[in-house]
């Protein structure tokens, strides 16, 4: 599931298209309805400042319990047998020999008919320990009739390639978009550039592999799951097991990374629940590292051909994109959002296709589609700038768009991309770049260069998110929300917002999350969590304050309007001698009192709500070895009001690092012959380490968007990831004078690009 599905207006709907047609001609916008009154910008004590995580102590002492760490009385170990073949017909599965092994308590058949990728689940067992479960898997007899397969997506579209799915051909159109008249636009252009860019398969590889522990308490199923969406997993389990949703509880206290691969219910979780029911004992089912490379997704590939036409002064008049993507047995990502939205271009046409292969289904990965699309778009922008002999940053500014042309046609509620350009350019020293790509001075085989890339993402948050603030008569305060902290610091954000509003300190707040019995919150994906949860907590806490003021007024025998709250005290404005402590006022509540908060709506019919960012990279490239080193990096983000500066910085650092890693190293490799993944581990699949990290500067535009929610905050996780690979690719282009046009930019690809330059093509 993609975060973008939570956005209220989908691109391509008739209404949206009509609005685009009406606004693309850059007519002055109809005056939008009056925005909600802007909240007074109070001077916050904690919000926007750095606050250390409230759960830091749990993490650094090893006490934080992740799903892998759960151990229940009588717990069995579950294992899944997976197909070794990329395409096969299952003739028979015999569980009896496995069930006969002492210590094996349950077994299930999980497949019938065809298996379509190597790694697809076939059977499962639960046994008293891991070793017995492994032995049992080897005893399951499966008779396969192998079928021809295709795992190379560049070949899957060829005539004669084996058909991957029964319901559709191997190549299918997944997206179409058009505004204006591109042919007319290209005819009017002074310069036309056409280029093809490729992105590879990037595997999420969270440190904690996917896994669940299932336990039945009578008719009630409790599942500890390593998930980014407890409510969705709860609902999915209820459907899969034909249970009332009210009889399922999903718990996730700590999780070791997800990056989009843990957004929805996993088949291993259903298997764990079924095995647990069969055995009458809890079952723990964890993926192996190998499983995580073959059956829980990856970022789909892309092959994007852009054609862009511009006037001599840099005004872009036409864009076209033809993209092919592959997501295995599932559709790949559409990558068009950046090209239709980032720049003001009246004529734009997109056509996208997916190519099916006998490979496990892709899953959303940190800014799905946008990450690939931004690589293609931002790369062609730099190649266009070179063709126009123009500063790449100037070209971007020249085509700056104040409205969301592709998605909704509406003006942006706030857009700080121009500020991000200014902040980032200053931090990196943009004037130091080579004026033309490859024109810098050489120091032996080393060439230096600087590049930029911009991003757009969603991240407005989900209206309807709920949170409770509970006040206890002893003065303690609890904040409860059925969200999950996937490493972004959500626990701390909740504590910060509640403490700020209630005049307390973050450490005074007890935070409860990660349980689907708690009030609803969306998946932690799509950069939704903070702009959904923080405003709901704020709303609940404001209601609590209102009530506390009334109670204090009664105690002090003054009007409620006369009460001010400060420093854990409620005092009378007119008679400062009259005051009561926070604890005293809570005691007057006499029992625990729950205040329900909700994240309100947004004027989505008047404004587009998006997040923005601009990244700048400086690299050095060795033209003899093809090796790239990133030396310096500046990232500027517009994600509205920052809630916690400390954790926000970490989000950006992570986005940069993952983009660096994907841009330079990461690539899943398939073997054509066997149809399986060649590098399903952390040694052969290369991930950046501490040795690869540049000097990093992080800047926030910190624009408070009053229309978006009561805190003016937007999401940050994905915006920080989108522009990182292309910023580095463009820096490499600036250094060596030829664009590598494919990520990861392995030394071999860099050397091939240099050869291309020598050949003059």
């Amino acid at each position: 599931m993609k975060g973008k599905e939570y956005i209220s207006v989908a691109r391509g709907d008739a209404e949206g298209q009509a609005r685009v047609a009406a606004t693309a001609a850059e007519k002055p916008a109809a005056k939008p309805a009056e925005p909600r009154p802007e909240p007074k910008a109070p001077e916050f004590k904690y919000i926007g400042k750095p606050t250390a995580r409230v759960d830091g102590r749990e993490i650094v002492t090893g006490r934080a319990k992740y799903t892998h760490d759960i151990k229940l009385r009588g717990m069995l170990i579950g294992k899944i047998l997976r197909s070794p073949y990329a395409a096969a017909e299952i003739v028979a599965i015999d569980l009896a020999p496995a069930l006969a092994l002492p210590g094996v308590m349950a077994a299930l058949k999980l497949a019938e008919g065809k298996v379509r990728y190597a790694g697809q689940q076939v059977a499962a067992v639960a046994a008293v320990d891991e070793r017995t479960a492994e032995k049992a898997l080897a005893l399951v007899k499966v008779e396969y009739k192998t079928l021809p397969h295709v795992v190379d997506w560049e070949k899957a579209g060829d005539a004669g390639a084996p058909q991957v799915r029964d319901d559709k051909p191997n190549v299918e159109r997944i997206n179409e978009y058009s505004r204006g008249d591109v042919e007319k636009g290209f005819a009017e252009a002074d310069v036309v550039v056409e280029r093809t860019y490729r992105t590879g398969f990037e595997v999420h590889n969270p440190t904690e592999t996917h896994g669940s522990v299932a336990v039945w308490e009578g008719d009630h199923l409790v599942v500890y799951d390593s998930t980014q969406g407890i409510h969705g997993v709860r609902d999915g389990l209820a459907r899969a097991l034909k249970l009332p949703a009210a009889n399922v509880t999903v718990i996730k206290n700590y999780m070791g990374g997800g990056f989009g691969s843990k957004l929805s219910l996993g088949d291993y979780t259903v298997a764990a629940a079924n095995l647990a029911r069969q055995a009458g004992r809890p079952v723990k089912m964890l993926n192996s590292r190998r499983d995580n490379a073959v059956c829980v997704g990856y970022r789909p590939s892309s092959r994007q051909t852009y054609k862009v036409g511009a006037k001599k002064d840099g005004t872009i008049v036409a864009f076209s994109l033809l993209n092919f993507a592959s997501g295995g047995i599932a559709a790949g990502d559409d990558v068009a959002e950046p090209v239709v939205d980032i720049y003001k271009c009246p004529n734009c046409k997109v056509e996208e296709h997916t190519v099916f292969t006998n490979v496990g289904a892709q899953r959303a990965m940190r800014a799905p589609g946008h990450t690939q699309g931004a690589f293609g778009l931002e790369s062609v922008m730099d190649e266009l700038a070179a063709a126009l002999d123009m500063d790449p940053l100037e070209l971007r500014r020249k085509n700056y768009s104040a409205r969301n042309l592709g998605d909704t046609g509406l003006p942006y509620s706030s857009k700080g991309l121009d500020q991000c350009y200014d902040l980032g350019a200053k931090a990196i020293g943009w004037e130091r770049r080579n004026r033309r790509p490859g024109e810098g001075s050489a120091s032996g085989p080393l060439r230096r260069g600087i590049g930029v890339a911009s991003s757009i993402w969603f991240g407005a948050g989900s209206p309807g998110t709920l949170a409770d603030v509970v006040l206890y008569p002893d003065g303690s305060v609890e904040v409860v929300c059925g969200t999950q902290d996937i490493g972004c610091g959500t626990r701390t954000h909740m504590a910060v917002v509640a403490a700020e509003t209630l005049g307390l300190e973050p450490k005074d707040i007890t935070v409860k999350l990660g349980n689907s019995d708690y009030p609803w919150a969306p998946i932690s994906g799509g950069s939704l969590t903070t702009p959904s949860v923080a405003p709901a907590v704020r709303d609940a806490a404001l209601k609590a304050v209102e009530r506390l003021k009334a109670v204090a007024a009664a105690r002090l025998k003054v009007e409620a309007g006369d009460i001010v709250m400060a420093d854990r005290k409620f005092a009378s404005k007119s008679d400062p001698a009259k005051s009561a402590s926070f604890a005293e006022v809570c005691r007057d509540l006499r029992r625990e009192t729950v205040f329900h908060g909700e994240r309100g709506g947004m004027p989505g019919d008047q404004y587009a709500f998006n997040t923005f960012g601009a990244h700048f990279a400086e690299v050095v490239v060795d033209v003899e070895t093809g090796r790239i080193r990133v030396l310096k990096y500046a990232a500027a983000q517009d994600s509205g009001r920052i809630i916690n500066k400390l954790t926000a910085e970490s989000q950006v650092v992570g986005g940069i690092t993952q983009g660096l890693s994907a841009g330079l190293y990461e690539e899943r490799v398939m073997d054509d012959m066997t149809g399986s993944v060649v590098n399903p581990n952390l040694r052969d699949y290369k991930i950046a380490t501490s040795l690869d990290i540049p000097e990093i500067e992080i800047l926030f535009a910190d624009i408070v968007d009053p229309r978006i929610n009561n805190l003016g905050t937007k999401g940050l996780g994905e915006p920080a990831r989108v522009p990182s690979s292309p910023a580095i690719a463009n820096a490499v282009y600036n250094a060596i004078g030829v664009h590598v046009r494919e990520i990861p930019m392995t030394p071999q690809r860099v050397l091939e690009a240099l050869k291309r330059k020598e050949a003059g093509s």
């Binding site: 250390a52 952390l682 501490s690």
Partner: protein, 207 residues
């Protein structure tokens, strides 16, 4: 190709085979089968495969007698038998450092260390780093500098760091990066982690 004789144990089974033997799925079982009835050399004599052996460890300053299987890793012994789940099983083959613990004060990958090899030694895990409720300066620094995100790799980084700073109390940034390069952080928070290590060094110097 000639098989290279095992240096210490020419007739037996090498440590490598045992590590491979605890591999997963059908392959793991297939490799294990021929090992049945064979033995592994330990400091205290030979141990048959599958037979339990009682070892003595000093874990986080507590002496513990533990019956382990001959091909059981130190990581499994810590996590499954002692419920010390701070060290994580991330790659299970020495690629990521998520299971790093100190064996006689030296950082090791617990997933690549057989429990029987730890017999008679001291083991320090992340759970044993804080003394009397007071956090170790490295732990404090990771909290202050936000040297983590999801926190799953954090125990490994903290153990690596604590051993590193004992050896090199005033490291340069390059030395820090090198010291941490055997630990993977998939959230990509290395820049913050390096900052935490630097802060920890300063704290320990001042302590």
């Amino acid at each position: 190709m000639d098989k290279k004789p095992n240096r210490k144990d020419p007739g037996g089974v090498s440590r490598r085979d045992f590590i491979k033997g605890v591999g997963r799925g059908a392959l793991g079982t297939a490799v294990l089968a021929p090992l049945r009835g064979q033995t592994i050399g330990t400091k205290k004599g030979r141990v048959p495969v599958y037979e339990r052996k009682t070892i003595t460890l000093i874990v986080n300053a507590k002496k513990i007698d533990l019956a382990v299987e001959a091909n059981e890793t130190l990581l499994d012994a810590l996590r499954d038998r002692l419920d010390l789940t701070g060290a994580k099983k991330v790659c299970d083959r020495g690629e990521c450092g998520g299971c790093t613990v100190l064996l006689d004060d030296v950082p090791v990958y617990a997933c690549m260390t057989l429990a029987v090899r730890a017999d008679g030694k001291t083991v320090k895990t992340v759970e044993g780093l804080a003394e009397g409720g007071k956090l170790h300066p490295v732990q404090e620094a990771f909290i202050e500098k936000d040297g983590y995100q999801c926190g799953y790799c954090t125990p490994g980084f903290i153990m690596t760091t604590s051993a590193f700073l004992e050896k090199n109390p005033a490291p340069s940034l390059d030395e820090i990066k090198l010291a941490l390069s055997g630990n993977l952080c998939r959230c990509g928070n290395y820049a913050k982690i390096c900052g935490a290590v630097d802060t920890a060094a300063k704290k320990m110097k001042g302590a």
